[in-house]
Symmetry: C2
Subunit: 708 residues, 2 copies
């Protein structure tokens, strides 16, 4: 196990090898790839193998329960499933498994491999695994996600294509170094997009100055050139110079670094601000396990989703370590554009399923991306050719002061009690072409979990004639146009409220606040009340937000009660949200039918992870994934539930979003609702007042004052 040294004092965990939920180590990845390679039937098959994704094949939940008993001694016996046959030890854990998606470039086949990894030597002796193929299955009629290597090859292919060079010359461009080719997946609009071929439809841009790699080339979209690339054979199969739209003039405001041609000067009056934790962070990390302020969870990471949060629990004193969620992650996102014209109507990136949020994650930098005392986790992948690659400092874990947690000042005595809020954030950032997304999970001392997405990066632009404007977007600069679009995110929440791993005693109720009818019981007409409706089965659990009724959803345990006798629960509180503004018959909604509702609830099924199905790229099947699964209409009255919360923002571009969009935030909250008997934040200690702007925890009351 390569990752994370552990500089924190005191750990609850025993020295150990991998936990069953730990992401695959580089050694495991290497062995798995070698095992698959060796299993290729012919040299041609082996030669054609391209490694799109490799992930830990997550174990059955009872294995997690077993492992927790081993790794987490304070875990309450009542909270994990019983182990049959004597004491629970590591030896009882089954071997780990890797799951690989391999694209065969020679045969255009997509094959899913399952490899068992047996630990031959202990980690202490260098760690060594042996792999064994458990299964390999060819998945017909799909295209797996695109890889960065293919994108680079595609760009080179287009730039070397003589008719393309000719078309650029017609537009005044001789220097092909200036040209940027951003391949986009084609989606599925008809038989010509069938996964029988692996296709990309690149967008073309062109910088203005040679030798200036940080010039913002997205400021000069090249319009009118139709290119379709066969990504399997890496050759251009359609090319047409359809319309000679002049390149927009260089926008003097296109750049975003002072060093580059912006020519401006950065502001100089920003004084440094430091976050100092002289006694270290309040969290403890052992391997991928995190403990902080009564919270515990595990960090996971996959090429598709990026950060995964496993096994979220809260230490509730005499009630022990109480489970909240089994697995939390972002499993898909879709960015549909509202312009019906070429090339914009094709823009509706499935950034997880067509590209990979985790594969495109950043290596973060302390002091720039993150402030305070940071624990970083690395992420390990295969590259396209099967080599092991590591993104260092990929997941950031750190604490933040978050303002006032609670306060009350007694009006009779003037005495104030105030507590500051500390939160723990686990996050990563990724780039998909021009856009950036940051995904954050914040844990709070009052039992809240907040999921937050930060949107930034560069707008996807089109070129206009100098005096043209267009109904479907905003003119950003002369000849530059940003079409309107939406960003949708799908959070998959396998909740486990007061549930042992593998138990099935959660349900979901929808709560709406209703106006009481007038009558003798309501003579002042002021009455309203909350009404709960059980979501009984999957087809009844396709729901939309309704701010006017304060609608939210509570996941509750059917067998666990709080001190008032109400079922213990966690509620999903929507943030701002919307639904697709495209027509109901929009072509991209064939693949993204899950966008038609904000909430879906399903019975847990290990294989139901991706709401558009595992392979949305060029997917010809209508409503694959979530909309199909719920047709089973499984019962939800008492089960292991998965909530799919889908939230979006409608982005009408502003001039101020250019050249880089300031961060927009969107998200939702999981809040305890009768889970605890009172506020779990009541025992957060007060802080000292201080003259120097610092704060210290103390047990006496605040009584000093000072003033600048």
């Amino acid at each position: 196990l390569v990752s994370g040294s552990v500089p924190y004092k005191g750990t609850l965990l025993r020295a150990h090898s991998s936990h069953p939920l730990d992401p695959l180590s580089p050694a495991e990845i290497a062995v798995a790839v070698a095992t698959v390679r060796a299993a290729g039937a012919t040299p041609e098959v082996r030669d054609g193998m391209r490694f799109i994704e490799i992930v830990l094949n997550e174990p059955e939940k009872h294995v997690v329960a077993l492992a927790d008993a081993y790794f987490f001694p304070p875990f309450q016996p009542s909270l994990y499933a019983e182990a049959k046959g004597g004491p629970v030890t590591l030896k009882q854990l089954p071997p780990r498994q890797a799951r690989l998606i391999v694209y065969n470039k020679n045969t255009n086949e997509t094959i899913v491999w399952l490899v068992e990894l047996t630990e031959v030597h202990a980690v202490a002796r260098g760690g060594h695994h042996r792999g064994r193929v458990l299964s390999s299955q060819c998945v017909p009629d799909v295209q797996p996600p695109m890889d960065a290597v293919e994108y680079a090859e595609c760009e080179a292919t287009v730039k070397a294509f003589a008719p393309f060079k000719e078309a650029m010359k017609k537009r005044g461009i001789d220097d092909m170094e200036l040209v940027m080719v951003d391949p986009w997946c084609v989606g599925y609009y008809g038989e010509e997009d069938s996964p029988k071929r692996r296709l990309a439809k690149p967008l073309i841009f062109c910088r203005t100055e040679s030798g200036c790699p940080m010039e913002n080339g997205y400021a000069r979209p090249v319009e009118g050139i139709h290119v379709v690339v066969d990504m399997q054979h890496m050759r251009i199969i359609e090319f047409e110079d359809r319309k000679l739209i002049p390149l927009p003039p260089p926008d003097p405001l296109r750049n975003y670094t002072a060093a580059n041609s912006r020519g401006g000067v950065d502001r100089t009056d920003l004084k440094p601000l430091q976050i100092i934790q002289p006694e270290g962070p309040s969290f403890r990390v052992k391997g991928y396990a995190v403990e902080w302020q009564k919270w515990s969870f595990r960090i996971g990471f996959t090429p598709r989703e990026g950060l995964v949060i496993h096994c979220v629990a809260y230490d509730d004193g005499s009630r022990g370590r109480r489970s909240v969620a089994h697995r939390l992650s972002f499993v898909e996102m879709v960015v549909p554009y509202g312009d019906p014209q070429e090339p914009h109507y094709r823009k509706n990136a499935f950034d997880a399923g067509e590209d990979g949020l985790g594969k495109n994650a950043h290596s973060l930098k302390r002091g720039c991306d993150c402030l305070g005392l940071i624990k970083y986790f690395d992420a390990h992948f295969t590259n396209f050719n099967g080599g092991v690659e590591t993104i260092e400092n990929c997941v950031c874990l750190h604490e933040e002061d978050f303002g006032i947690l609670w306060k009350h000042q007694d009006w009779r005595s003037g005495h104030a009690e105030v507590r500051r809020s500390r939160r723990l954030s686990a996050s990563f950032f990724c780039t998909v072409a021009n856009y950036e997304y940051g995904f954050f999970w914040h844990f709070y001392q009052d039992g809240k979990i907040e999921a937050e997405v930060k949107l930034t990066g560069i707008l996807s632009l089109g070129a206009l004639s100098p005096d043209e404007s267009r109904k479907y977007g905003t003119v950003i600069a002369p000849g530059l146009y940003a079409p309107i679009h939406q960003h949708f995110f799908v959070a998959r929440l396998n909740m486990a409220v007061d549930s042992k791993p593998g138990e099935s005693c959660n349900q979901v109720v929808e709560v709406d606040v209703k106006v009481e009818k007038p009558g003798p019981g309501n003579i002042h007409n002021n009455a309203f009340y909350a009404e709960s409706t059980l979501l009984e089965s999957e087809l009844k659990a396709m729901r939309d937000c309704n701010p006017l009724s304060a609608r939210h959803w509570i996941v509750r345990n059917t067998r666990s009660v709080n001190r008032t006798g109400q079922l213990t629960g966690y509620k999903l509180v929507p943030g701002s949200n919307c639904l697709p503004l495209a027509g109901q018959e929009a072509k991209f909604l064939r693949r993204a039918a899950f966008l038609k509702h904000n909430l879906w609830v399903t019975q847990y099924d290990k294989d139901e992870i991706f709401p558009a199905g595992e392979f949305p790229n060029q997917n010809p099947r209508v409503g694959e994934g979530l909309p199909t699964w719920v047709q089973k209409d499984r019962k939800l009255e008492e089960t292991d539930v998965v909530l799919w919360y889908i939230f979006g923002v409608t982005h009408i571009p502003r001039l101020e979003d250019w050249p880089v969009m300031p961060v927009e935030r969107i998200g939702f909250t999981l809040m305890p609702h009768g889970f605890f008997n009172c506020s779990p934040a009541v025992d957060v200690p007060p802080s000292y007042p201080s003259a120097d702007g610092t704060n210290k925890n103390c047990s006496s009351e605040c009584h000093l004052q000072s003033k600048l």
Copy 2:
């Protein structure tokens, strides 16, 4: 001028006396009160005077323009109104005026006084003012807000009332020290609530342990006792022991300090977190004027509103100091409860108009309420008897790191540009009885202004029989019940987008995103677009939120354009919001009819500040204030506009909100929309990466990495 010494280097402002918008100084308050007292016609009148509120009578806008020219030399000449007759000097400013609301306890009259304050000596020689009454006007048929002194007297009166003591004895309470009487305004439910009498209807609570003042007494509501107090004569005019509901048992979880009977132990594993600004803050303060990161504004404060933000402008390079808003504040809030029974149906506090957000503000403590380098402002008031009172450290001004401001990582080179966001926050906190509210105005480097309300404090409870539950709320503990309620806030935004003070060239458009109809121009059915509708007049400008259409409102200047030729604007982006869930005919909506829409727009009128009218307490008139003003249906096509944004949250109490509710946040954003030609955050300098979690600004690119 007493407030704020100025420890920051470099100021743009000349040494000066009061700015015309500075809050009244203690000296001015004392002179104004003395002037009014002396003007009382008879000893009886003078004796009866109680001073409810005193505020600066804000000057006409052309005076502000004059003053800015004097106080703010870099202010662009083109942005202020022309001064007649030669150079602008302080001598040309008219004398300041105080406006007082005086309640005559002998006659039950409410009188508004206007007093002119002439500076006799310069501040440098000790400052001395002379007052002169400009007008005094008796306002018929109103009751001014309640005062803390009256609340204390009311409590004492009730506790001394023999039948009340008898009733408490019946409930097992002999020790009147334990009893808490929280007077609530009666509202207006019929002729018996008429302002001919000054009334309160107290809620009764009872602690369990003597000598324990920090015990949370709100945990034992005393039900069944009907009391109405004549607050003018401070006597009980109605008393009835209606129903002997047993006192709820002492709730073992009622307390929130470890020192008190909670008996618990605070958590000990929270390590200190310090925010250090070794070179000082990035803001500069002179008197009440603030400059920070191209922003400038002035701090104001009133007893009713608390913090007021005046004269918000942004320094936009060659375009000079561009105005954004003239005056921003919270002018009212209403908290209607959803239980139709006694005493809850009467609970619908107008915390600004019945009590005063500013009057009830906290004195803040560095390190507890606020972290970092703080500049505090004091607030000065009269007390009930006309004495000058000061809340020290009442308004907090400080900077915060706010995560990533913008980022882009080039996928070809791997080069990342990232900037951190710094924000400046001006805020205050107040207590109204059991609840706490914090009001925050955040200024960002990307031109955004965010208004945020933080809700915390103690739930308003009722008692139930041990096994009773009630449709209209949540059982919080055995015998304890928290009714459902809503919190509504009214922000009054006198915008001035690219407008000189007093100019009238703003308008408001509503933007909705619409689905395009299918057709030959939309063959893939993906199209949608933003549609703008001018709000032409006041009756057409009563609008509600609509998240499904991404509805927002843009205040734009009718004569100023950005580089694409679009009108410059600022948009109001709603946060989560709702409307009243009471019936349309609810009694409290007589006084709070402005809650029926989320947005109202009016032509600026200096006298239209409070949406329920100036005196909502016991107000018998239906729809006074905003709903009445808009009946004039004034034109809004090109004028000086005031936006009234009304936002609320529906609060279904949770067990976790007890004994003190963890902070909930709600608010909205003002965002530049085509106001700038590109992102104003593009020139924020990058930060150094660092090994110790600090960050420093730098001009070179990030290239170091380190790891825990």
